[in-house]
Structure formats: C-alpha cells, structure tokens
Symmetry: C2
Subunit: 492 residues, 2 copies
C-alpha cells in the first residue's frame, strides 16, 4: 500500500501558490455548507510514521478552515475515568456531532498497531482488533459519518534523512530524541504491521488515503483536496434524496414466536412467600455488591417489556437492595438534541458506568429493534444491522468487566388490558394511561415478532436475555432479582 507514497511526489512553489488560495476558499465554503445544512459529521483520522507531517497538516487544516467548527483531539494515556471503561469509550466521547469536523490523533488504530509492533500482543489479538474496527467504522458510515483516514508515510530513506537534517540544525536539534532513533531501528517491523492493518481496514466505507509525507506542499494539497472532494460529494448526495439502503431479507427463524408464546404464564408466588424470599434475595444482592471483587467489575441491567409489564416495580426491588451512591437508573425516552446529532448508540455509551457501579436502563438500545422497527422510525436496513452492532457494544462492556443482564418482561394481552384499567383508577399520576399506550396495544403482534427476533439475535453467552413471565408481579420480581444474584455469584 505504500509503494505510491515512495515515489518522491513534489509540488513546486508556483503551483502551490496558484492552488492554495482556491483550495482554502472552497474548503471554507464546503465547511459552511456542512455546518448550515450538512446533516452529517466529518471524522478525520490521522496516522502514520513520525516526522511525516501529521501535526503540520492538521494545523494547516485548522488554519485553512474555520477552527470554530473543528475539534482536534489527541489521545495519549487514558485518564482514570477512561481506564475504567471499555477502550472505545473515550473515542465515543470525542465523536464530532453533525455539522462538525472532528480530527483524531492517536485513534483506535494506535494501540493495536503499537502493541503488536512491541510484541505485547499476537497476531490473533491484532486480527480481533481489526475485525472490531471494521465493524465499528461500518456502523459509523451507516449512521452517516463521513470518515477520512489519512496515513502519512515516509520511506526508510526519507525517514533517516529527515532525522539527520533535524539534528544538523541547532534550532531543531531538540526535536530528535533517542526514542526517535530507537523507533527508526524497528522501521521495517512497524511498516509491515501497519501495512497489514491498513490493508485489512481499508474498506469502501472508510478507505485509507496514504499520503507521502516528505514534501510539505504535496501532502498539504493532497489532504486538502481529498477532504474537499469528499465533503462536496457527500453534500451533493445529501441534497438529492438518498436511495434507501436495501436490507438483506430477514432470514425467518422457524417459529421463533414460540420463545415468548410458550412461556408458562401461570407461574405464581403467594405474598407471604414473596416477601420472605424477596428479603433474602435483596440481602444476598446487597452483600455481593459490597464484595471486594465487585470493585473491579460493574453491573449493567437492561429492562425491556411491554407497557404495564412491571419494569418499574422490578427495578425498585433491585435498587431497594443497593446503596443509592452506587447505582443510577437511566430512563430512556426521546433522545435530546445533542444525542440526535450522534450515532444512535452514542447516548448509551454516555452512561457506561465506572468500575464498582451499577447502571440500570429502563428501556435501552433495544428500542432500535423494537419501537423503531415496529413504528418504522428507521429503515429496515438500519434495525437489521443493529443486532450485530448491539452485540459488539455489549461485548466491549463485558470485556472491560461489566456483567450484563437483560430482562424481557412478558405479560399477556389480557393482563395488559386489566392493568391499564386498574391504572386509570390509581392516584399515582405516573401510572396514568395515555392515548399512546392504547395505540401501542393495537400493535401487539408486531411487537411480539420483534421481541422474538431480538432475543434470537442478541441473546449471547456473554449477555444473555432472561425472559420473565410477568403475569404475576411477585413471581417476576423474584425471578429478576434471583437472576441478577446468580449471575453475580457466577461471575465474581
């Protein structure tokens, strides 16, 4: 991949002087269109060898364009708040919102490549990282992010020449450290591993653009022009109505509705037994969360279920066993303005807890494959891809120590009707039934199909679904809390 970046590209002064002002003006105007009308973010990744002009080029882009709508972020060692979350958390925090340009130095490529070069990881780990990156970037692409990945390259000869030149000049000598020469010694290894990684992550949705870094005028014009053309192309696309992406047909799972329909809804617990068992389970939960081992883990609970299935009640029986300082409950309603300017998983990444904490989601990212699917809020292709995107998300959380329990609370159609009618009589305002609740009821069958597909496709060994027969509230609450306790005991 680096051959064409070692041919000695050059741009002479006169050409540069001619082209640079035009490029600047065009970039500024494209950026203006992006921030005024562009319903997408531009994400620029910067990678490559030292001394190939990465920093200089980024500074130039900031000079050419309006720095108020660019945010440049450089990642070094993670802060303690970052270190307690999945690796990707800090990159999610820094994603540019729609209409903005985000430039990332030290991106998600840095540690897979560097760790492999240093021999800290093996080929299998690198492949795993590469696979994950490809899926992550595909997801960003599908969410509308314009991704540009620039790799700044110098041949071994050019690299050597550069270091020597810097050392000769007394003004720049300080810039060359021992570390630079040590890195130079492993140039070949770095090159081989980078080339491999670039090849495997250069997809049609997020291709790498390798830039020869030796000549400043050449690399500046190259980066500027690629950026300009990509932005213009996407802006034009967006003004024309976009062809809806076709989804692969959903492979019908043979009669997966049985999953929910065959639940034994007659299971019941009498009140005295419930109270006794609940107290015991709450005691166990309290104890295990205070266990030292939990300080290195976190607990993520996801509650889904149709209206009036008893999610709130089950959540309160969990929180009742915990110290309020350790948990937070995140109710998921319509996304805020800042959340709408980001890929749909962004708003859930915000709430990924630190170690030693419990986060409870009352409804969750599964809205994508439930309400958004049923109500047609997103295209078929969008909710289809969500299954694997969600699996990736949950895998990352569990890798960083999270224990993820997901509950689907199932009630019968008749029970829902009964509870709606009861609620209409209650004095608790938050239980009042709205028009929308009645409307949702009419789509019962569609939701049932969506639930069956969801469980089929996202119940994994690391983050399994627990289907809860919730016809009887006592039975449901005990099953939920018992599941949590058992998962914790098995995991710690």
């Amino acid at each position: 991949m680096f051959e064409s970046a070692e041919v000695g590209h050059k741009v002479d002064k006169a050409k540069y002087a001619r082209e640079e002002p035009k490029l600047r003006e065009a970039l500024l105007n494209a950026q203006f269109d992006l921030s005024e009308h562009g319903k997408f973010p531009v994400l620029i990744l910067i990678g490559g060898v030292d001394g190939a002009g990465k920093g200089e080029t980024v500074n130039l882009l900031n000079e050419w364009m309006d720095p108020r709508h660019i945010r440049t972020v450089a990642f070094g060692a993670p802060s303690d708040e970052e270190a307690e979350r999945p690796d990707m958390w800090r990159f999610w925090r820094a994603l540019p919102p729609k209409g903005n340009v985000g430039i990332v130095f030290g991106s998600w490529y840095t540690s897979p490549i560097v760790d492999r070069v240093m021999g800290k990881t093996d080929d299998v780990a690198l492949e795993h990282a590469v696979d994950r990156i490809v899926r992550f970037e595909n997801m960003l692409f599908n969410e509308g992010v314009l991704i540009l990945k620039f790799w700044f390259h110098l041949s071994k000869e050019q690299q050597k020449k550069r270091l020597k030149e810097l050392e000769k000049d007394s003004d720049t000598r300080w810039r060359v450290t021992k570390l630079d020469w040590e890195r130079f010694k492993i140039y070949d290894r770095f090159r081989a591993i980078s080339e491999h990684t670039l090849r495997e992550t250069s997809t049609s949705n997020a291709p790498w653009i390798v830039v020869e870094g030796a000549d400043a005028r050449y690399r500046s014009l190259t980066v500027g022009k690629v950026l300009l053309e990509s932005m213009k192309k996407r802006l034009a696309e967006r003004s024309a109505p976009r062809e809806p992406v076709k989804a692969a047909p959903l492979v019908p799972v043979m009669d997966n509705l049985k999953l929910v329909r065959d639940l034994d809804m007659t299971q019941k617990v009498a009140k005295p037994e419930y109270e006794k068992k609940l107290e015991k389970l709450q005691g166990s939960l309290n104890l295990i969360i205070r266990d030292k081992k939990f300080k290195k883990r976190s607990l993520i609970l996801v509650f889904e279920g149709s209206d009036a299935a008893g999610k709130g009640g089950a959540i309160r029986r969990i929180t009742g066993a915990l110290d309020a300082r350790q948990y937070s409950v995140t109710p998921v309603a319509a996304p805020t303005q800042e959340e709408r300017a980001q890929p749909y998983l962004w708003r859930f990444w915000r709430y990924v807890p630190r170690l030693g904490r419990v986060t409870i989601f009352d409804r969750s990212w599964y809205g994508r494959v439930l309400v958004e699917r049923v109500e047609g809020f997103c295209a078929e292709a969008d909710w289809m891809r969500a299954y694997s995107e969600i699996n990736d998300f949950e895998e990352q959380m569990t890798e960083r120590g999270a224990i993820v329990c997901k509950f689907w609370l199932q009630i019968s159609n008749q029970m829902q009707l009964r509870r709606f009618k009861e609620r209409e009589k209650t004095s608790f305002k938050r239980f009042k039934i709205t028009e929308e609740d009645w409307r949702n009821r009419k789509k019962w069958d569609l939701y049932e199909g969506a639930v069956a597909d969801m469980v089929d496709r996202t119940s994994t060994e690391i983050a399994p679904w627990t289907l809860v027969e919730a016809e009887d509230k006592y039975f449901a609450r005990l099953k939920v809390i018992r599941t949590v306790v058992e998962r914790l005991e098995a995991s710690l």
Copy 2:
C-alpha cells in the same frame, strides 16, 4: 443550631405506619408534577455526622420516589480529570437538570469543614469558602434551583451509644473502624466548626434543615415531609405567574462610555510591518505554550466584539501559532436543550480546560450582560447579578491555574457598515450578512452602554479586559497576540 436536634425526637411505630404510605404517595405525585411540568431542578445536599442515617435516608427517598428521575452522586477523592479543574467543576457536572432531583453526598461543604477540623486550613480560608458557597447557592436559587440542605445530627452521647451498639452485635461489628473512634475523639471540634459553617451558610434561599438522626422513623418522616412541602410550594408558585424580581438600580458610573469612545481608533499598522511582527509574536506564543511551566497552567481566551469587528480573524492568528492538539475553539451560539435545562453558566463550565490546554471562546458568558441585556432575553435583576457571578467564575478558574484574557474588539459604526457591505460581495459564505446583523446595528448605542458597564464591573486584576482598537485589523491582531504573550510571560 443543634439544640433542637438533641431533644430525643421519636416517632412511634403506629404513627409511622399511618403516615408513611400517605407521604410516599404525595411524594410520587409531586415528583411526577416536577418532571412533567416543573421547570426547575431539586438539589438535595446531605451532610452531617457519621451514623446519623444519611445513607439510609437517601436510600429511602430513592425507594419512596421514582428512582428514574433521581440521581444520587457521592463525591470522594477527585478523579484526575476533576483534579485539573477548579474544585467546583465536578459539582457543576453533577447538577440535576430541570424536572429532576439530584442528591449530593460529600458536597462543596465537605472539604472546607474537614480541612478546617484537621487543621489543614485556617479561619480565613474557611470564611473565604463560606462566602463563596453563599454566593454560589444564591446564584443557583436565582436560576430557579430548589435547594434543600439536610444536616443529620447526633449528640455526643447518641454517637457514643451508637458506636458501642454496633460493636456489640456480631453482624454489624465490621461497620465500626478505628477511624470511627478517632473521629469521635474530635467530635467537639467537628461540631463547633460545622455549627459555625451551617450558621453562616443558612440563608433564606438555601436554609439548612438540621435533622436529629437517632430515631429512624423520626428522621425519615421529617426529611420526607420537608421535601414534599418544599416541592409543593415551589410547584404552586410556578403555576402562578411569578412576581418579577426587582433589581437594585444600576448605579450610573460617571460617563463610563468614555471607556470605549475615547479609544484612539486611528492606530494603524502597515502590512509589511504587520507580517514581520506577527511572525515574531506567533513564534513567541508557540514557544511559551510549549514551556514546561505551562503544563501546570491553562489559558482561557475570551473574544467579544460587535459583528464584523474581526474576532474570527484574531482567533485564527492565535490558533495559527499553536498546535491543534492543544487548543479548542468554542463558538457560543444558542444553548442546546441540555444546556437550557441548567443554570446559564453551566454550558461554559463544560468547556473549562484541563491543565496544559488552551480554550478560546468566540463569544462567551458575557452574552448575559450584552445581548441578553440589550434584547431583554433575561430580566434586569438577572443580568445585574451576572457581573459578580461571572467574577466568581473567573476567580475560580484563575485559582486553579488558568490565565484568563478577555478582549473587546471595538470598531466604529461607519467601519461596521463598510465591512458589512464588503462582506456582501465576498465569496466566503460564512461571512454573509444576515437580516439579524442589520437589526443588531440599529441598537448600537444600547450595546455601547452595555459594553461600558461590562468592562467597568468585570475587569479585575485577575482577569482584566483588554479593549482593542479594531478599526485597523492588523493593529488589532497584533495587540491581541501581544497581550496574550505578555500575560503568559508575566504569569509563568
């Protein structure tokens, strides 16, 4: 203040059983009204002696109410991201948005009191902290936050009894540590300093409620009822149109318009001289920001000025000298939905930089006393109090190492007209003149008065205003960058 919390308040079982269900229901309904219609947040601070039931009460509130709209936050040692910002930054991050309840353990009272008890600070430091807290809470009150501060108290006798009882029972023995007894030894000192602090911070806007902690039923009902009554009272207030708060009359500063009118607008720099000097100043700026000493400081630049005064151009001459990884530019436009749910300074606190970084605000918190004042977006009393709130904000930043430079770019009315007309011909879309720009021009005199007052009231020795004669762009840019360099040189 603690006398009435040492009389041995008790609530018997029967009374509690009668009152608790009614209280729960009323609290749930009040909370529902708050989240549906309440245009204010509820902030509950929890303080007091160990073992007085702080944690238990908060857990109970979470049990009684809907935990989805309560967020309980406990502050211990600051994370590294917190440690690099002013002390209050982490509390600002955790403020509840409108419609929500936030419970704070280990609030802004903890370290002033504990540090004084431990002898780490003196009385002067405590008074300083107290003054700042009073002003901070007044500001929150004025921004509509309902503040409830509960102090859980135990008499010395009760405290001793409690520790002994815990030690006797083999189930609870683990809860009593050596530290508890050590703390008990300094009970009197802790009590005296707490009492003093509480007295001085118990204001009509944010009074302390001291709760005797010995009897669980008494303290639970007390806290629940105070919370309920306060919420109901505020909810009722809000449904009736609120009496506008009267502002103290603005003391006219004798002819302060001279501040801006007497600027020598004829100052000019020729292009060749400008280019030479600019390069030199940019070199100095680059060098000093890379200085080791700057790693313990941060730089905050604020740009204000009328439309077309050249703020953007000046900012680009600054960023042109810096590495894009070190700075970010925050353009201040209309607040987002999440920002509107918080006190007006919240959105600026978000962007307070870590150490070693530069943050540039293109327009700023001064919008409160400029556009919001002139356009009547907030009441007179609101922008009047903003002067001192802003001074407090800037003082906190400088105490944590920030160097704050504020620039007002002044042009004449005729020059603005000329630049507007030029811009109408430009090919850079971002410079296009809108209807609003023309409308703003008509309020020239009002803005001039607002600027003079702003400079008069917020130009402090720690964060001075620099008035920049911007009739000539070259002169203005040099003055801005020279000021930044000089401030940095004087500060490092």
